[in-house]
């Protein structure tokens, strides 16, 4: 390079030395004028980085924002759940979920779910369509919450901690449940839910195939996918709506047979 570097080239080089032409790096090591100019540029940008007023936020900031949002979202009439045809769609999904529940296919492992109701207590019960819908929302909401928790673990883990994540084991369980809900949602036309579960599925597959405790690059790939698709926000929004009635208990009327 037989000329001095332009200011623009120096700015490029500062932010992305690997992308900038390699000639600049070589030139800077040989040209005192450009080297001085680059040092001055770096000093200014460092000064900006260290002194610009960027308010500090605590770790709980995300939750604070979410709490404020929940109130507004709760009032939002364009709720995703309201867009689903309630009677037909939820009824169909609820039926599937109930069958799966009764069959005990999803929550056999005591440590894997928060829905601990043993199949025996549901056997011989009559569930109204309204209760079915509530049950469905609770069950799918729980599924989305667990998925969110696992993905948060993956996203927040430092590379050094990747080996400690136990999400890999849980992902297998969630994957089975996810497929069931997705198919049900598809059949019943709950498109928003189906879309979310469809997006979630490959992530769970990838996660469940990651080698536990070893290959952090697999988890990195999952992390990138999660961040790229914004799946966490979607899980949070839809999951929150599903659990909207969490303060209400499921009114399952038991029929003595």
């Amino acid at each position: 390079m037989n000329r001095h570097a332009t200011e623009e080239e120096l700015v490029d080089y500062h932010y992305d030395p690997l992308q900038a032409t390699g000639l600049i790096g070589v030139h800077l090591s040989q040209c005192a004028v450009c080297s001085d100019a680059f040092s001055e540029l770096r000093s200014v940008l460092t000064l900006v980085g260290k002194n610009a007023l960027v308010p500090e936020r605590s770790e709980g900031y995300g939750s604070e924002v979410w709490q404020r949002l929940r109130w507004q979202i709760g009032r939002d009439k364009t709720s995703i759940l309201h867009r689903v045809q309630p009677a037909a769609a939820w009824g169909s999904i609820a039926a599937t979920v109930t069958i799966a529940f009764l069959a005990g296919t999803l929550w056999q492992r005591p440590q894997s779910g928060t829905l601990q109701a043993p199949t025996g207590t549901l056997a011989g019960t009559t569930i109204s369509s309204e209760d079915e819908e509530r049950l469905l929302k609770a069950v799918v909401g729980d599924h989305l919450q667990r998925s969110q928790r696992i993905l948060l673990d993956v996203v927040n883990a430092s590379p050094a901690r990747s080996s400690e994540i136990d999400a890999v084991e849980d992902a297998g369980d969630l994957l089975a449940a996810n497929r069931l809900y997705r198919q049900s949602a598809e059949r019943s036309g709950a498109m928003e839910l189906e879309q979310l579960l469809t997006e979630l599925e490959p992530i769970l597959i990838e996660l469940s195939h990651a080698t536990p405790g070893h290959d952090s690059s697999q988890l990195d790939a999952v992390r990138k996918r999660v961040e790229g698709q914004g799946i966490l926000l979607k899980l949070r929004v839809v999951g929150s709506q599903m659990r909207g009635g969490e303060s209400r208990s499921l009114a399952i009327r038991t029929r003595t047979s």
Binding site: E7, E8, V11, D12, Y15, D16, E40, L41, S43, V44, L45, L47, V48, G49, N51, A52, L53, V54, P55, V65, R68, L69, Q72, I73, D76, T78, I80, E192, E199, E227, G228, Q229, G230, I231, L233, K234, V237
Partner: protein, 151 residues
């Protein structure tokens, strides 16, 4: 971007609310963070516009209406009196146009690549680069005396 913490809080909240409402419009081809940044940028711009209306200032040119609106540059007397470096830095940041400040913040503080910033701001790569360059140049002009003085 807003140059004001309270406005920034409102922008954060409004951004996520808009994102929630427009979630079904999010295209899977796009990167979610780019989409979210774009919403945040639009919210910030709306906030700055609203503040300007509130303050009773009127500009005719819609394209340039944002330039300098978030400026919190203190007057020379205040600047001279201020001893803290951060005051100078924020004054310098306040002198950037809205577009320059956004592009610079995304590049310098968020570390986003040029092409992603371009997608957020709807600018071509060359225009994005140039906007960032203009911002850096202005900051250098404002802050180099400070750096030289310190050294």
């Amino acid at each position: 971007m807003t140059g004001n913490e309270e406005d920034a809080e409102d922008v954060v909240q409004e951004t996520f609310l808009r994102a929630y409402r427009q979630l079904r419009n999010f295209e899977q081809r796009a990167n979610f963070s780019t989409w979210l940044y774009r919403i945040a940028t639009n919210c910030a711009v709306d906030t700055i516009r609203a503040r300007k209306r509130r303050d009773g200032l009127h500009h005719k040119d819609g394209g340039e209406v944002l330039d300098g609106l978030a400026s919190q540059a203190p007057d020379p007397a205040r600047l001279l009196a201020a001893s803290e470096v951060s005051t100078h830095v924020n004054a310098a940041m306040g002198q950037l146009s809205s577009g320059e400040r956004t592009a610079f913040v995304l590049r310098h503080f968020e570390g986003l690549p040029i092409d992603e910033i371009g997608r957020i701001l709807n600018l071509r790569t060359s225009a994005t680069k140039h906007t960032i360059f203009r911002a850096v140049k202005k900051l250098r002009q404002s802050l180099e005396p400070l750096v030289r003085g310190a050294s």
